[in-house]
């Protein structure tokens, strides 16, 4: 089986961009055009982008 390229589309500007081959669930990906950030979700073999609103805890306390 040839390595499948993981191409996703930015929901903000529509740019299609490639994710690293070894991308892991939960990884942060940025659109190379507009800089929009996403959480990469890998579930059941499919890749989806979840908006990253920065609403995660940074454990700053």
């Amino acid at each position: 089986m040839a390595t499948q390229k993981l191409v996703v589309q930015c929901k903000v500007c529509g740019t299609e961009f490639e994710l690293p081959e070894d991308v892991m669930d939960g990884e942060i990906a940025s659109c190379p055009t507009c800089g929009a950030r996403y959480i990469v979700r890998l579930k059941g073999g499919s890749v989806t982008l979840e908006e990253f609103k920065g609403d995660v805890e940074d454990y700053g306390e």
């Binding site: 070894d22 892991m24 939960g26 990884e27 942060i28 959480i39 990253f52 609403d55 995660v56 805890e57 940074d58 454990y59 700053g60 306390e61």
Partner: protein
Amino acid sequence: MIVVKIGGSVVCKDASKVIQNLPKYADRAVVIHGGGCLVNELLKRMGIEPKFLTHPGGLVSRYTDWETLKVFVMAMGWINKYIVASLHGLGVQALGLTGADLGVVVAKRKERVLVIDERGRQRVVDGGYVGKIAEIRVDKLTPPPLKVLAPVAVSEKGELLNIDGDQLAFDVAREAKAERLILLSDVEGLILGGKVVPRLTPEEAEKLVKSEEVRGGMKRKLLMASEAAKLGIEVVISSGLVDSPIDAALNGAGTHII
């Protein structure tokens, strides 16, 4: 009301002095204890490897997975009941609580946290069983009887959560509009140039937080203390290992932020 925080260092070294001093304040105190040292000891003894998360910015925090949570709750439970039983031996009927009891401390689980993973990439992972305090039912904490509170909260879903003891003490003091918050640990106060600083204004405390002179845990203590002092709560950072440590703190020992 006064809030007395018995730090983990006091719990693990010698809590007897504080415990013996508590009966005198049974009708006007709330006690909060720590115990991280016992948690570490137990994890080690059970062969559980501590797990850590690295956050953007380089901060490293302990990761509380399910197994670690269990050990955390167990260790805190022992400390809590040991204090309560000791007080019983001194004639004081105390009530030991976690945040789950009567729902006194509800927290929100940090479901997603941003970390730098082993490959140096940013990733969102489950935050483990750590809570951010959301609500304190302070009416249930008012003495009598004397309440002894462990740094364990409950989520709306019914999960037990590890919360920070100093934060809990500060939040309880604020919600209860306490007159004083006494933070007892194994240091005599804020030490600068080899001497205990007897008194700080909230502004001085804030300045010190930003300076290089103060580190780690003391930084957080001073930050909370300055916030508390602005609300009219006198904060005392002093030793829990001396004779009658609460009397001493109220009589001027340690560092007073006011």
